[in-house]
């Protein structure tokens, strides 16, 4: 039986275009509110785990060391974790393991990324290089193109429509508009979403997440510490992680992410719950098709019925399982290293009942799902208040 680990403090920077700061200042914006929330100061922290996906985006090598110094944690054990777009969740999992192993009692997790400073063409180029540079990049496969391939396969196999894809975007923008930390706080209509400029068919602009700067932080603690620190600990009761083939053509399915299915199975088993017991979830919606596949692969609906799930409004507050009601990657933004930690922050907020207008009444069990690249990494965490 694993030892219990809780989230006891959370902090979040404003996500968006942030030419006013570099990665160190962004991290600071998230870290100190998290420490304050936990009622701790730097000397109470046993170890620091920093998640940054790409030094090239920040134009700074060894970002973790820079951040660790800037937030006054010199002297502590310091870890840098990287798992592409799932970096933040890999960092949370690492912190959990440090505490569970007894190596630390209280761990600070920081996820941060600056992506807009290099400019959009450079960012597109850097992300395209996440594909296999021997066999995929030579064909000019952009990052959204990998998900677009899955989208045409899904549309063909299950009759999923472009309209259903856009419906995911409309929902995430509706809730993102209510989230003060979100990048693009603006509601959109289905018509606007459908008519936006085509990026790579069938995905248009509103099917794609934003390029953002941002940071998020969380303090994790052992059961003994957590009970001393707070009356509202949020326990991480299940974890799952998995990976998949590098090249998309080699995957056993183009309409499902195997890493999600494997990670979810582990997490549900460890938490001893079923998908229908989840009260609120944040899933990896880098592209709208990714959210539809996540509904299916996480067991929120049957395989092939993800399009129907959003069309029926089942992922809205009041539906079967509210999903991405913080705006998701789509509207809140997706600063790679920050995203997974931001997911932990959102679920903690929901389970504490602190989500304001976006609150799911009486939420007790939450789930976060974070994909790295196009399915090469996946982390699923399950939380309980």
């Amino acid at each position: 039986m694993a030892k219990k680990v809780a989230v006891v403090g959370i902090g979040h920077s404003k996500f968006g275009k942030r030419p006013d700061v570099t990665i160190r200042e962004l991290a600071h914006e998230a870290v100190f509110p998290a420490l304050e929330d936990a009622g701790l100061s730097a000397q109470d922290i046993d170890a620091v785990v920093v998640g940054v996906a790409g030094d090239e985006f920040a134009a700074q090598g060894s970002c973790a060391a820079v951040i660790n110094d800037y937030i006054g944690m010199q002297g502590k054990p310091l870890y840098r974790v990287e798992a592409a777009c799932a970096t933040g969740s890999a960092a949370v999992r690492t912190a959990w393991a440090l505490i569970n192993s007894g190596l630390a009692e209280t761990v600070l997790v920081v996820g941060a990324e600056t992506m807009t400073h290099v400019g959009t063409p450079r960012a597109t180029e850097l992300m395209a290089k996440a594909g296999d540079t021997r066999w995929e990049y030579p064909f000019g496969v952009t990052f959204p193109a990998f998900y677009a391939l899955m989208a045409t396969a899904h549309m063909h196999q299950y009759g999923t429509t472009r309209e259903q894809l856009s419906m995911v975007s409309v929902k995430n923008h509706k809730y993102g508009a209510m989230n003060p930390y979100a990048h693009l706080r603006k509601e959109i209509t289905l018509e606007e979403a459908m008519k936006s400029v085509m990026i790579c068919y069938p995905l248009n602009l509103y099917d794609c997440c934003l390029i953002s700067d941002g940071a998020a932080a969380a303090v994790l603690a052992s059961e003994e510490k957590a009970k001393k620190l707070t009356d509202t600990p949020v326990w991480i009761i299940g974890l799952g992680a998995a990976s998949d083939n590098m090249m998309i053509a080699e995957r056993e399915s183009l309409t499902s992410l195997k890493a999600t299915r494997l990670a979810a199975e582990q997490a549900y088993k460890m938490a001893r719950i079923k998908p229908e017991e989840i009260d609120v979830a944040v899933v990896h919606d880098c592209f709208t098709i990714a959210e539809i596949m996540a509904y299916e692969d996480l067991g929120f609906c049957k395989k092939g019925e993800g399009g129907k799930f959003i069309e029926e409004g089942q992922s809205y507050i009041g539906g079967k399982i509210p999903v991405n009601i913080d705006g998701g990657l789509k509207s809140k933004g997706h600063p790679l290293g920050a995203t997974g930690v931001s997911m932990t922050v959102e679920i903690t907020r929901q389970l504490r009942g602190e989500a304001g207008k976006r609150q799911v009444e009486g939420a007790e069990i939450g789930l976060s799902h974070n994909i790295g690249e196009t399915g090469q990494y996946c982390f699923v965490h399950i939380y309980k208040r």
Partner: protein
């Protein structure tokens, strides 16, 4: 001869052999002699740990599994845009990613029969691509 529209990895012995065969009209994969796993595109070491591999000629016919029309390419591919990237399954069950040509958005369909054609991109570059099969 270099492979594809853009690349910067070193031209290893395997890649030299692969592009040389392509230039002669053959699409070659490799097969592990120990566990019989086929690799298309080729690798020189098997996931089972074996390094005892042999080359084989892959079938050129197959069917389209997925596609996307890329309107905003990476910087290095700007002059080719828009282009269509597709994944196809060849007749022996292996799968390949490439461009598809000779189609319009209207004629492009998941499941359509395709064949692999080989062509030069420039003086020193060669690639394979899909086209509709008759």
């Amino acid at each position: 001869m270099k492979f594809g529209y853009a690349s910067w990895l070193p031209e290893t012995n395997m890649m030299r052999k692969f592009t040389e065969e392509l230039a002669n009209g053959r699409l070659m994969g490799t097969k592990c002699k120990k566990c019989k796993t086929k690799y298309m595109p080729p690798r020189i070491q098997c996931r089972c740990g074996s390094t005892d591999m042999e080359w084989y000629e892959a079938p050129k016919k197959g069917k389209l599994l997925a596609y996307t029309i890329i309107m905003y390419p990476p910087e290095s591919m700007q002059k080719y845009a828009p282009y269509i990237v597709a994944v196809a399954e060849l007749e022996d069950g292996t799968r390949l990613l490439s461009h598809i040509v000779g189609v319009t958005p209207k004629t492009l369909k998941v499941g359509m029969p395709i064949e692999v054609s080989i062509s030069k991109v420039s003086e020193d570059r060669i690639t394979y691509k899909f086209k509709p099969s008759t």
